[in-house]
Protein backbone atom coordinates (compact mmCIF):
# COMPACT_ATOMS: atom_id res chain seq x y z
CA UNK A 1 0.00 0.00 0.00
CA UNK A 2 3.06 2.22 0.10
CA UNK A 3 2.86 5.53 -1.66
CA UNK A 4 4.63 5.80 -5.00
CA UNK A 5 8.04 7.41 -4.72
CA UNK A 6 10.79 8.26 -7.22
CA UNK A 7 13.21 5.91 -5.37
CA UNK A 8 11.11 2.90 -6.27
CA UNK A 9 12.09 2.60 -9.90
CA UNK A 10 14.30 4.66 -12.23
CA UNK A 11 11.46 5.11 -14.68
CA UNK A 12 9.16 6.53 -12.01
CA UNK A 13 10.50 10.05 -12.24
CA UNK A 14 9.07 12.99 -10.34
CA UNK A 15 7.20 14.03 -13.44
CA UNK A 16 5.67 10.60 -14.08
CA UNK A 17 4.57 10.37 -10.46
CA UNK A 18 2.94 13.78 -10.64
CA UNK A 19 0.96 12.64 -13.69
CA UNK A 20 -0.15 9.55 -11.78
CA UNK A 21 -1.12 11.55 -8.67
CA UNK A 22 -3.14 13.82 -10.94
CA UNK A 23 -5.23 10.80 -11.91
CA UNK A 24 -5.65 9.68 -8.28
CA UNK A 25 -3.11 6.90 -8.53
CA UNK A 26 -1.21 7.27 -5.27
CA UNK A 27 -0.11 3.90 -4.00
CA UNK A 28 1.49 0.78 -5.35
CA UNK A 29 -1.86 -0.96 -5.05
CA UNK A 30 -3.56 1.76 -7.09
CA UNK A 31 -0.83 1.41 -9.70
CA UNK A 32 -1.15 -2.35 -9.97
CA UNK A 33 -4.93 -2.22 -10.16
CA UNK A 34 -5.01 0.24 -13.03
CA UNK A 35 -5.00 -1.05 -16.60
CA UNK A 36 -1.60 -0.86 -18.24
CA UNK A 37 -3.02 0.87 -21.27
CA UNK A 38 -4.49 3.57 -19.11
CA UNK A 39 -1.14 4.15 -17.42
CA UNK A 40 0.41 4.36 -20.88
CA UNK A 41 -1.91 7.23 -21.70
CA UNK A 42 -1.30 9.01 -18.39
CA UNK A 43 2.46 8.76 -18.31
CA UNK A 44 3.55 8.45 -21.96
CA UNK A 45 5.70 5.46 -21.02
CA UNK A 46 5.94 2.46 -23.31
CA UNK A 47 3.84 -0.64 -22.59
CA UNK A 48 6.97 -2.68 -22.03
CA UNK A 49 8.44 -0.21 -19.58
CA UNK A 50 5.28 -0.25 -17.49
CA UNK A 51 5.34 -4.02 -17.50
CA UNK A 52 8.86 -3.80 -16.11
CA UNK A 53 7.82 -1.39 -13.38
CA UNK A 54 4.89 -3.62 -12.45
CA UNK A 55 7.11 -6.66 -12.19
CA UNK A 56 9.59 -4.78 -10.05
CA UNK A 57 6.89 -3.41 -7.72
CA UNK A 58 5.23 -6.79 -7.30
CA UNK A 59 8.56 -8.36 -6.54
CA UNK A 60 9.46 -5.68 -4.01
CA UNK A 61 6.14 -5.61 -2.19
CA UNK A 62 5.07 -9.21 -1.95
CA UNK A 63 5.74 -11.48 0.97
CA UNK A 64 9.05 -13.31 0.98
CA UNK A 65 8.94 -17.03 0.34
CA UNK A 66 11.23 -18.81 2.71
CA UNK A 67 12.51 -22.33 2.61
CA UNK A 68 11.34 -24.26 5.66
CA UNK A 69 14.77 -25.61 6.45
CA UNK A 70 16.44 -22.22 6.16
CA UNK A 71 13.75 -20.71 8.31
CA UNK A 72 14.30 -23.36 10.93
CA UNK A 73 18.07 -22.85 10.87
CA UNK A 74 17.65 -19.11 11.16
CA UNK A 75 15.32 -19.59 14.09
CA UNK A 76 17.74 -21.92 15.85
CA UNK A 77 20.56 -19.46 15.27
CA UNK A 78 18.75 -16.36 16.49
CA UNK A 79 16.46 -17.66 19.22
CA UNK A 80 17.83 -17.32 22.70
CA UNK A 81 16.78 -18.24 26.17
CA UNK A 82 17.18 -15.27 28.48
CA UNK A 83 17.64 -16.38 32.07
CA UNK A 84 15.56 -14.29 34.45
CA UNK A 85 18.18 -14.69 37.16
CA UNK A 86 15.54 -15.83 39.62
CA UNK A 87 16.46 -19.44 40.31
CA UNK A 88 13.01 -20.90 40.85
CA UNK A 89 11.45 -19.00 37.98
CA UNK A 90 14.18 -20.18 35.59
CA UNK A 91 13.58 -23.73 36.70
CA UNK A 92 9.84 -23.32 36.16
CA UNK A 93 10.31 -21.82 32.69
CA UNK A 94 12.91 -24.46 31.77
CA UNK A 95 15.80 -22.04 31.47
CA UNK A 96 14.25 -18.63 31.15
CA UNK A 97 12.40 -16.40 28.74
CA UNK A 98 12.33 -17.70 25.18
CA UNK A 99 12.68 -14.96 22.59
CA UNK A 100 9.82 -14.60 20.14
CA UNK A 101 7.28 -15.00 22.90
CA UNK A 102 4.99 -12.75 24.87
CA UNK A 103 4.91 -13.42 28.60
CA UNK A 104 2.10 -12.06 30.64
CA UNK A 105 2.35 -11.71 34.37
CA UNK A 106 -0.96 -11.22 36.09
CA UNK A 107 -2.10 -10.96 39.65
CA UNK A 108 -4.13 -9.04 42.17
CA UNK A 109 -2.96 -5.53 43.00
CA UNK A 110 0.08 -5.33 45.26
CA UNK A 111 1.08 -8.94 44.66
CA UNK A 112 4.56 -8.31 43.33
CA UNK A 113 4.09 -7.84 39.58
CA UNK A 114 6.16 -4.67 39.40
CA UNK A 115 8.82 -6.15 41.65
CA UNK A 116 8.99 -9.15 39.29
CA UNK A 117 9.52 -6.82 36.32
CA UNK A 118 12.10 -4.66 38.08
CA UNK A 119 14.07 -7.69 39.22
CA UNK A 120 14.17 -9.15 35.72
CA UNK A 121 15.16 -5.80 34.21
CA UNK A 122 18.01 -5.58 36.68
CA UNK A 123 19.14 -9.20 36.32
CA UNK A 124 19.13 -9.20 32.52
CA UNK A 125 21.11 -5.96 32.21
CA UNK A 126 23.51 -7.17 34.86
CA UNK A 127 24.17 -10.68 33.60
CA UNK A 128 23.84 -10.29 29.84
CA UNK A 129 25.47 -6.89 29.40
CA UNK A 130 22.54 -5.83 27.27
CA UNK A 131 19.93 -3.14 27.19
CA UNK A 132 16.41 -3.69 28.43
CA UNK A 133 13.49 -1.48 27.51
CA UNK A 134 11.04 -0.75 30.31
CA UNK A 135 7.77 0.91 29.32
CA UNK A 136 6.17 2.36 32.41
CA UNK A 137 2.54 3.47 32.32
CA UNK A 138 1.88 4.54 35.90
CA UNK A 139 5.23 5.78 37.18
CA UNK A 140 5.91 2.63 39.13
CA UNK A 141 9.45 2.38 37.82
CA UNK A 142 11.73 3.53 40.58
CA UNK A 143 15.45 4.16 40.27
CA UNK A 144 15.69 3.92 44.04
CA UNK A 145 14.32 0.39 44.07
CA UNK A 146 16.78 -0.74 41.40
CA UNK A 147 19.61 0.85 43.31
CA UNK A 148 18.55 -0.87 46.51
CA UNK A 149 18.60 -4.23 44.74
CA UNK A 150 22.07 -3.59 43.36
CA UNK A 151 23.31 -2.30 46.71
CA UNK A 152 22.19 -5.53 48.32
CA UNK A 153 24.70 -7.34 46.10
CA UNK A 154 27.49 -5.01 47.19
CA UNK A 155 28.62 -4.06 43.70
CA UNK A 156 31.13 -1.27 43.09
CA UNK A 157 29.64 2.13 42.22
CA UNK A 158 30.88 2.30 38.62
CA UNK A 159 29.34 -1.09 37.88
CA UNK A 160 26.03 0.01 39.37
CA UNK A 161 26.07 3.13 37.22
CA UNK A 162 26.82 1.02 34.20
CA UNK A 163 23.94 -1.36 34.84
CA UNK A 164 21.48 1.40 35.57
CA UNK A 165 22.33 3.32 32.44
CA UNK A 166 21.50 0.23 30.36
CA UNK A 167 17.92 0.03 31.63
CA UNK A 168 16.05 2.27 29.20
CA UNK A 169 12.78 3.64 30.47
CA UNK A 170 9.91 5.25 28.62
CA UNK A 171 7.17 6.75 30.77
CA UNK A 172 3.98 6.95 28.77
CA UNK A 173 0.39 7.99 29.37
CA UNK A 174 -1.78 6.93 26.44
CA UNK A 175 -2.22 3.88 24.26
CA UNK A 176 -1.20 5.86 21.19
CA UNK A 177 2.09 6.71 22.82
CA UNK A 178 2.60 2.99 23.38
CA UNK A 179 2.29 2.34 19.64
CA UNK A 180 4.63 5.21 18.78
CA UNK A 181 7.11 3.86 21.33
CA UNK A 182 7.18 0.38 19.85
CA UNK A 183 7.70 1.71 16.33
CA UNK A 184 10.49 3.98 17.53
CA UNK A 185 12.12 1.05 19.35
CA UNK A 186 12.02 -0.84 16.06
CA UNK A 187 13.87 2.05 14.46
CA UNK A 188 16.44 2.06 17.25
CA UNK A 189 17.10 -1.65 16.82
CA UNK A 190 17.55 -1.10 13.09
CA UNK A 191 20.12 1.54 13.96
CA UNK A 192 22.12 -0.92 16.04
CA UNK A 193 20.70 -1.15 19.56
CA UNK A 194 21.16 -4.62 21.02
CA UNK A 195 17.93 -5.54 22.69
CA UNK A 196 16.36 -8.83 23.65
CA UNK A 197 13.75 -7.88 26.19
CA UNK A 198 10.95 -5.31 26.40
CA UNK A 199 8.93 -5.01 29.60
CA UNK A 200 5.60 -3.22 29.61
CA UNK A 201 4.56 -2.58 33.17
CA UNK A 202 0.86 -2.52 33.16
CA UNK A 203 -1.40 -2.36 30.17
CA UNK A 204 -4.77 -1.77 31.88
CA UNK A 205 -4.09 1.91 32.68
CA UNK A 206 -3.82 2.57 28.94
CA UNK A 207 -6.90 0.70 27.88
CA UNK A 208 -9.20 1.59 30.77
CA UNK A 209 -9.15 5.29 29.94
CA UNK A 210 -12.04 5.07 27.50
CA UNK A 211 -15.07 2.87 27.32
CA UNK A 212 -15.38 3.04 23.55
CA UNK A 213 -14.62 -0.59 23.02
CA UNK A 214 -14.45 -0.35 19.22
CA UNK A 215 -11.62 2.18 19.40
CA UNK A 216 -9.93 0.28 22.20
CA UNK A 217 -9.94 -2.99 20.29
CA UNK A 218 -8.66 -1.26 17.19
CA UNK A 219 -5.68 0.13 19.05
CA UNK A 220 -5.12 -3.11 20.91
CA UNK A 221 -5.04 -4.92 17.61
CA UNK A 222 -2.44 -2.51 16.27
CA UNK A 223 -0.44 -2.98 19.46
CA UNK A 224 -0.57 -6.76 19.23
CA UNK A 225 0.52 -6.64 15.58
CA UNK A 226 3.63 -4.60 16.21
CA UNK A 227 4.43 -6.51 19.40
CA UNK A 228 4.25 -9.87 17.64
CA UNK A 229 6.23 -8.51 14.71
CA UNK A 230 9.02 -7.28 16.99
CA UNK A 231 9.00 -10.50 18.99
CA UNK A 232 9.27 -12.70 15.88
CA UNK A 233 11.41 -10.71 13.49
CA UNK A 234 13.80 -9.16 15.98
CA UNK A 235 13.83 -12.15 18.33
CA UNK A 236 12.73 -10.29 21.40
CA UNK A 237 10.90 -11.46 24.48
CA UNK A 238 8.07 -9.35 25.86
CA UNK A 239 6.89 -9.21 29.44
CA UNK A 240 3.53 -7.56 29.93
CA UNK A 241 1.73 -7.09 33.22
CA UNK A 242 -1.99 -7.28 33.63
CA UNK A 243 -4.23 -7.00 36.64
CA UNK A 244 -6.76 -9.38 38.09
CA UNK A 245 -9.83 -8.04 39.82
CA UNK A 246 -12.17 -9.82 42.19
CA UNK A 247 -15.89 -9.44 41.62
CA UNK A 248 -18.41 -10.12 44.31
CA UNK A 249 -21.89 -10.72 43.12
CA UNK A 250 -24.87 -11.42 45.27
CA UNK A 251 -25.25 -10.91 48.99
CA UNK A 252 -25.22 -12.74 52.27
CA UNK A 253 -27.66 -15.36 51.07
CA UNK A 254 -25.51 -16.42 48.10
CA UNK A 255 -22.35 -18.39 48.33
CA UNK A 256 -19.50 -18.75 45.87
CA UNK A 257 -20.38 -15.59 44.04
CA UNK A 258 -16.73 -14.59 43.74
CA UNK A 259 -15.18 -14.44 40.32
CA UNK A 260 -11.64 -13.48 39.46
CA UNK A 261 -11.44 -11.56 36.24
CA UNK A 262 -8.40 -10.93 34.12
CA UNK A 263 -8.14 -7.40 32.78
CA UNK A 264 -8.36 -6.24 29.15
CA UNK A 265 -11.19 -8.44 27.96
CA UNK A 266 -11.64 -11.60 25.98
CA UNK A 267 -9.55 -10.75 22.96
CA UNK A 268 -6.49 -10.35 25.08
CA UNK A 269 -6.82 -13.89 26.48
CA UNK A 270 -5.43 -15.42 23.31
CA UNK A 271 -2.53 -13.00 22.84
CA UNK A 272 0.07 -13.96 25.41
CA UNK A 273 2.05 -17.13 24.75
CA UNK A 274 2.71 -17.65 28.44
CA UNK A 275 0.53 -16.44 31.26
CA UNK A 276 2.02 -16.52 34.72
CA UNK A 277 -0.12 -15.82 37.74
CA UNK A 278 1.47 -14.43 40.87
CA UNK A 279 -0.19 -14.77 44.23
CA UNK A 280 0.66 -13.97 47.80
CA UNK A 281 0.93 -16.99 50.05
CA UNK A 282 0.19 -17.36 53.74
CA UNK A 283 3.82 -16.83 54.63
CA UNK A 284 5.19 -13.31 54.75
CA UNK A 285 7.31 -12.27 51.75
CA UNK A 286 6.62 -15.56 49.93
CA UNK A 287 4.77 -15.47 46.63
CA UNK A 288 3.57 -18.31 44.44
CA UNK A 289 3.99 -18.25 40.67
CA UNK A 290 1.78 -20.45 38.57
CA UNK A 291 1.68 -21.01 34.82
CA UNK A 292 -1.93 -20.73 33.71
CA UNK A 293 -1.38 -20.68 29.98
CA UNK A 294 1.46 -21.95 27.85
CA UNK A 295 1.99 -23.62 24.53
CA UNK A 296 5.21 -25.32 25.59
CA UNK A 297 5.16 -26.02 29.29
CA UNK A 298 2.66 -28.22 31.08
CA UNK A 299 -0.15 -26.22 32.61
CA UNK A 300 -0.13 -25.76 36.35
CA UNK A 301 3.63 -25.79 36.91
CA UNK A 302 4.41 -23.59 39.84
CA UNK A 303 7.13 -22.31 42.11
CA UNK A 304 7.58 -20.10 45.13
CA UNK A 305 9.74 -17.01 45.36
CA UNK A 306 10.72 -14.53 48.03
CA UNK A 307 10.17 -10.83 47.51
CA UNK A 308 11.70 -8.11 49.59
CA UNK A 309 13.54 -4.82 49.12
CA UNK A 310 16.50 -6.48 47.44
CA UNK A 311 14.27 -7.92 44.74
CA UNK A 312 12.81 -11.28 43.95
CA UNK A 313 14.82 -14.42 44.42
Amino acid sequence: MARLKPEMHPLLTEEVINFLFGKNIYTVVNFLQTEIKQICCITNLAYKEILGIRKHLIHKNSAVVRNGLDYYKEMIRATAIIPTGIQNVDAMLEGGLLTGNIYEICGLPSNGKTQFCLTIAKNVTQKLQQHVYYIDTKRDFSGRKILRMLDAEKLPADQIGNIMSRILVKQINTKYELLNCLYSIQKEIDEGLTLRLIIIDSLPPLFYQTEESAKNYGVMNQFVNIMRFLAREYHLAFIVTNCITIWYEGDFSMEKAITEKLGLGRYWLSIANFRIMIKQTQEICKYGLNIVKSNKLPKGVNCTVNINDSGMF
Binding site: N180, Y208, Q222, K256
Partner: protein
Protein backbone atom coordinates in the same frame (compact mmCIF):
# COMPACT_ATOMS: atom_id res chain seq x y z
CA UNK B 1 6.92 -2.98 9.57
CA UNK B 2 5.78 0.57 8.88
CA UNK B 3 3.48 2.39 11.24
CA UNK B 4 0.04 2.74 9.67
CA UNK B 5 -1.69 6.09 9.88
CA UNK B 6 -4.70 4.33 11.35
CA UNK B 7 -2.67 3.73 14.52
CA UNK B 8 -2.51 7.45 15.30
CA UNK B 9 -4.86 9.30 17.58
CA UNK B 10 -6.98 10.70 14.76
CA UNK B 11 -10.73 10.58 14.24
CA UNK B 12 -11.88 8.04 11.69
CA UNK B 13 -12.92 10.58 9.08
CA UNK B 14 -9.45 12.18 9.11
CA UNK B 15 -7.83 8.80 8.62
CA UNK B 16 -10.13 8.15 5.68
CA UNK B 17 -9.39 11.55 4.17
CA UNK B 18 -5.67 10.86 4.32
CA UNK B 19 -6.12 7.40 2.85
CA UNK B 20 -8.13 8.64 -0.12
CA UNK B 21 -5.17 10.79 -1.16
CA UNK B 22 -2.86 7.84 -0.75
CA UNK B 23 -1.34 8.22 2.70
CA UNK B 24 -1.40 4.90 4.48
CA UNK B 25 1.83 4.88 6.49
CA UNK B 26 3.58 7.45 8.64
CA UNK B 27 6.72 7.10 6.57
CA UNK B 28 4.76 8.29 3.52
CA UNK B 29 4.01 11.56 5.24
CA UNK B 30 5.77 14.37 3.53
CA UNK B 31 5.23 17.70 5.19
CA UNK B 32 6.25 19.66 2.12
CA UNK B 33 3.58 18.09 -0.09
CA UNK B 34 0.60 20.35 -0.57
CA UNK B 35 -1.95 17.56 -0.49
CA UNK B 36 -0.68 16.41 2.88
CA UNK B 37 -0.49 19.86 4.42
CA UNK B 38 -4.04 20.63 3.32
CA UNK B 39 -5.39 17.61 5.24
CA UNK B 40 -3.57 18.02 8.49
CA UNK B 41 -1.72 20.74 10.35
CA UNK B 42 1.98 20.19 10.60
CA UNK B 43 2.14 21.03 14.32
CA UNK B 44 -0.65 18.55 14.97
CA UNK B 45 1.24 15.90 13.05
CA UNK B 46 4.31 16.32 15.23
CA UNK B 47 2.16 15.83 18.32
CA UNK B 48 0.62 12.70 16.87
CA UNK B 49 3.88 10.94 16.15
CA UNK B 50 5.52 12.20 19.34
CA UNK B 51 7.32 9.54 21.37
CA UNK B 52 8.23 10.21 25.00
CA UNK B 53 11.94 10.59 25.56
CA UNK B 54 13.91 7.55 26.64
CA UNK B 55 15.69 7.92 29.93
CA UNK B 56 17.92 5.47 31.68
CA UNK B 57 17.27 4.14 35.17
CA UNK B 58 20.19 6.28 36.30
CA UNK B 59 18.54 9.47 34.98
CA UNK B 60 15.35 8.55 36.78
CA UNK B 61 17.19 7.87 40.00
CA UNK B 62 18.87 11.27 39.79
CA UNK B 63 15.54 12.94 39.18
CA UNK B 64 14.04 11.14 42.17
CA UNK B 65 16.89 12.40 44.33
CA UNK B 66 16.46 15.99 43.15
CA UNK B 67 12.69 16.07 43.54
CA UNK B 68 12.84 14.68 47.07
CA UNK B 69 10.03 13.56 49.35
CA UNK B 70 7.53 15.19 51.72
CA UNK B 71 7.91 14.31 55.40
CA UNK B 72 4.88 12.95 57.22
CA UNK B 73 5.72 14.06 60.80
CA UNK B 74 6.12 10.43 61.78
CA UNK B 75 9.58 9.02 61.55
CA UNK B 76 8.40 5.43 61.35
CA UNK B 77 5.96 6.16 58.55
CA UNK B 78 8.65 8.05 56.63
CA UNK B 79 10.93 5.06 56.89
CA UNK B 80 8.23 2.68 55.74
CA UNK B 81 7.58 4.90 52.74
CA UNK B 82 11.28 5.02 51.90
CA UNK B 83 11.85 8.59 53.04
CA UNK B 84 8.44 10.21 52.85
CA UNK B 85 5.70 10.87 50.31
CA UNK B 86 7.21 10.53 46.82
CA UNK B 87 6.75 13.26 44.23
CA UNK B 88 4.97 12.37 40.99
CA UNK B 89 3.19 9.35 42.42
CA UNK B 90 -0.27 8.79 43.84
CA UNK B 91 -0.26 7.90 47.53
CA UNK B 92 -3.51 6.85 49.09
CA UNK B 93 -4.46 6.96 52.76
CA UNK B 94 -7.44 4.83 53.57
CA UNK B 95 -9.20 3.86 56.76
CA UNK B 96 -12.34 3.98 58.85
CA UNK B 97 -13.90 7.35 59.63
CA UNK B 98 -12.08 9.14 62.41
CA UNK B 99 -8.78 7.34 62.11
CA UNK B 100 -6.84 10.41 61.03
CA UNK B 101 -6.84 10.51 57.23
CA UNK B 102 -7.63 14.20 57.06
CA UNK B 103 -5.18 14.91 59.83
CA UNK B 104 -2.36 13.26 57.88
CA UNK B 105 -3.26 15.43 54.90
CA UNK B 106 -3.13 18.57 57.04
CA UNK B 107 0.27 17.61 58.37
CA UNK B 108 1.55 17.12 54.85
CA UNK B 109 0.14 20.48 53.71
CA UNK B 110 2.07 22.15 56.52
CA UNK B 111 5.26 20.11 56.25
CA UNK B 112 5.64 20.73 52.55
CA UNK B 113 6.06 24.42 53.41
CA UNK B 114 9.05 23.94 55.71
CA UNK B 115 12.16 25.64 54.39
CA UNK B 116 14.56 23.54 52.39
CA UNK B 117 17.27 23.43 55.04
CA UNK B 118 15.12 21.46 57.48
CA UNK B 119 13.74 18.85 55.12
CA UNK B 120 10.82 20.74 53.61
CA UNK B 121 10.23 21.83 50.05
CA UNK B 122 9.29 25.47 50.66
CA UNK B 123 6.30 24.72 48.45
CA UNK B 124 2.61 25.38 48.45
CA UNK B 125 -0.29 22.97 48.30
CA UNK B 126 -3.73 22.59 46.78
CA UNK B 127 -6.38 21.00 48.95
CA UNK B 128 -9.39 19.65 47.11
CA UNK B 129 -12.07 18.77 49.61
CA UNK B 130 -14.98 16.68 48.37
CA UNK B 131 -16.66 15.82 51.65
CA UNK B 132 -16.75 19.17 53.48
CA UNK B 133 -14.22 17.81 55.92
CA UNK B 134 -11.89 20.77 55.77
CA UNK B 135 -11.66 22.02 59.35
CA UNK B 136 -9.58 25.16 59.15
CA UNK B 137 -9.25 25.48 62.93
CA UNK B 138 -7.62 22.04 63.05
CA UNK B 139 -5.26 23.10 60.34
CA UNK B 140 -4.40 26.25 62.29
CA UNK B 141 -3.61 24.15 65.38
CA UNK B 142 -1.30 21.90 63.41
CA UNK B 143 0.37 24.88 61.80
CA UNK B 144 0.91 26.54 65.18
CA UNK B 145 2.46 23.38 66.60
CA UNK B 146 4.68 23.03 63.58
CA UNK B 147 5.87 26.65 63.78
CA UNK B 148 6.67 26.23 67.48
CA UNK B 149 8.64 23.08 66.76
CA UNK B 150 10.43 24.82 63.96
CA UNK B 151 11.38 27.82 66.13
CA UNK B 152 12.70 25.70 68.99
CA UNK B 153 14.63 23.56 66.52
CA UNK B 154 16.12 26.68 65.04
CA UNK B 155 17.05 28.05 68.46
CA UNK B 156 18.58 24.75 69.52
CA UNK B 157 20.83 24.58 66.51
CA UNK B 158 21.77 28.26 66.84
CA UNK B 159 20.85 29.10 63.29
CA UNK B 160 20.83 32.83 62.76
CA UNK B 161 17.37 34.14 62.22
CA UNK B 162 18.60 36.98 60.07
CA UNK B 163 18.90 35.18 56.79
CA UNK B 164 15.26 34.23 56.20
CA UNK B 165 13.46 36.45 58.59
CA UNK B 166 10.60 34.22 59.34
CA UNK B 167 8.70 33.56 56.25
CA UNK B 168 7.49 30.48 58.08
CA UNK B 169 4.62 31.57 60.32
CA UNK B 170 1.04 30.44 60.85
CA UNK B 171 -0.36 33.11 58.60
CA UNK B 172 1.90 32.31 55.69
CA UNK B 173 1.14 28.63 56.11
CA UNK B 174 -2.59 29.23 55.92
CA UNK B 175 -2.13 31.51 52.93
CA UNK B 176 -0.12 28.92 51.02
CA UNK B 177 -2.79 26.25 51.17
CA UNK B 178 -5.29 26.73 48.39
CA UNK B 179 -8.65 25.23 49.12
CA UNK B 180 -11.15 24.01 46.52
CA UNK B 181 -14.52 22.71 47.63
CA UNK B 182 -16.11 20.20 45.31
CA UNK B 183 -19.58 18.71 45.17
CA UNK B 184 -19.50 16.34 42.22
CA UNK B 185 -17.17 14.48 39.91
CA UNK B 186 -17.82 17.02 37.15
CA UNK B 187 -16.52 19.79 39.35
CA UNK B 188 -13.53 17.65 40.19
CA UNK B 189 -12.56 17.26 36.54
CA UNK B 190 -13.17 20.99 36.03
CA UNK B 191 -10.90 21.75 38.98
CA UNK B 192 -8.02 20.02 37.20
CA UNK B 193 -8.44 22.37 34.27
CA UNK B 194 -8.26 25.31 36.68
CA UNK B 195 -5.24 23.83 38.36
CA UNK B 196 -3.27 23.87 35.16
CA UNK B 197 -3.55 27.68 35.08
CA UNK B 198 -2.48 27.99 38.69
CA UNK B 199 0.43 25.68 38.18
CA UNK B 200 1.64 27.61 35.19
CA UNK B 201 1.56 30.89 37.13
CA UNK B 202 2.95 29.56 40.31
CA UNK B 203 5.72 27.03 40.06
CA UNK B 204 5.93 26.23 43.75
CA UNK B 205 2.98 23.88 44.18
CA UNK B 206 4.43 20.66 45.57
CA UNK B 207 1.38 18.85 46.89
CA UNK B 208 -2.15 18.19 45.69
CA UNK B 209 -4.56 16.56 48.13
CA UNK B 210 -7.93 15.14 47.22
CA UNK B 211 -9.62 14.51 50.53
CA UNK B 212 -11.84 11.61 49.75
CA UNK B 213 -11.57 10.46 46.20
CA UNK B 214 -14.50 8.12 46.85
CA UNK B 215 -17.11 10.74 47.84
CA UNK B 216 -17.70 12.29 44.38
CA UNK B 217 -17.45 8.94 42.62
CA UNK B 218 -20.20 7.39 44.68
CA UNK B 219 -22.64 9.59 42.82
CA UNK B 220 -21.63 8.20 39.44
CA UNK B 221 -22.81 5.16 37.55
CA UNK B 222 -20.94 2.05 38.56
CA UNK B 223 -19.93 1.31 34.99
CA UNK B 224 -18.37 4.71 34.42
CA UNK B 225 -16.34 4.61 37.58
CA UNK B 226 -13.25 2.74 36.45
CA UNK B 227 -12.86 4.88 33.38
CA UNK B 228 -13.34 8.06 35.38
CA UNK B 229 -10.81 7.03 38.01
CA UNK B 230 -8.24 6.07 35.44
CA UNK B 231 -8.71 9.40 33.70
CA UNK B 232 -8.43 11.36 36.95
CA UNK B 233 -5.24 9.51 37.87
CA UNK B 234 -3.81 9.95 34.41
CA UNK B 235 -4.58 13.68 34.18
CA UNK B 236 -3.11 14.30 37.60
CA UNK B 237 0.03 12.31 36.95
CA UNK B 238 0.70 14.10 33.69
CA UNK B 239 0.50 17.39 35.60
CA UNK B 240 2.56 16.00 38.46
CA UNK B 241 5.26 14.89 36.05
CA UNK B 242 5.47 18.35 34.53
CA UNK B 243 5.17 20.46 37.69
CA UNK B 244 6.76 18.08 40.22
CA UNK B 245 4.18 17.66 42.91
CA UNK B 246 3.02 14.76 45.06
CA UNK B 247 -0.55 13.49 44.91
CA UNK B 248 -2.49 12.36 47.98
CA UNK B 249 -5.87 10.66 47.90
CA UNK B 250 -7.92 9.62 50.87
CA UNK B 251 -10.34 6.75 50.62
CA UNK B 252 -12.88 5.21 52.96
CA UNK B 253 -13.67 1.60 53.68
CA UNK B 254 -16.43 -0.66 52.48
CA UNK B 255 -17.64 -4.14 53.32
CA UNK B 256 -17.03 -7.15 51.16
CA UNK B 257 -18.73 -10.47 51.52
CA UNK B 258 -16.76 -13.65 50.95
CA UNK B 259 -18.17 -17.03 50.09
CA UNK B 260 -17.88 -18.15 53.68
CA UNK B 261 -20.39 -15.45 54.58
CA UNK B 262 -17.86 -13.63 56.67
CA UNK B 263 -17.84 -9.95 55.72
CA UNK B 264 -14.62 -8.03 56.01
CA UNK B 265 -13.56 -4.44 55.52
CA UNK B 266 -11.60 -3.30 52.53
CA UNK B 267 -10.88 0.10 50.95
CA UNK B 268 -13.56 1.36 48.57
CA UNK B 269 -13.50 1.58 44.78
CA UNK B 270 -12.35 -1.92 43.97
CA UNK B 271 -9.34 -3.71 42.57
CA UNK B 272 -8.84 -1.97 39.27
CA UNK B 273 -8.47 1.32 41.12
CA UNK B 274 -6.16 -0.36 43.63
CA UNK B 275 -4.08 -1.47 40.68
CA UNK B 276 -3.76 2.09 39.40
CA UNK B 277 -2.52 3.93 42.50
CA UNK B 278 1.14 3.71 43.42
CA UNK B 279 1.23 3.60 47.22
CA UNK B 280 -1.51 2.66 49.66
CA UNK B 281 -1.31 3.31 53.38
CA UNK B 282 -4.06 1.88 55.53
CA UNK B 283 -4.73 3.64 58.82
CA UNK B 284 -6.50 2.04 61.76
CA UNK B 285 -7.19 2.96 65.33
CA UNK B 286 -5.48 1.04 68.10
CA UNK B 287 -7.45 0.34 71.22
Amino acid sequence: MHQPISSLNLPDFKIQELQTVGYHYCTDANKSEKKFASKIQISQWDDLVHTPKTRSALDIYQEECVSGTILTSSKELDEALGGGIPVGLITEFCGEPGCGKTQVCFHLCVNVQLPLWCGGMAGQSIYISTNKGFASHRLREIATACVNNYLSFKAKHCILATSNNDEFCVQSIMRNIRYIGINSHVELVAAFKCMRHWLQENLMIRLVVIDSISAPLKKTEFKERTQMLYNICNDLQILAQQFKFAIIFTNDMTTRITSANSPYHTPSLGDSYYHRINVRVQLSKKD
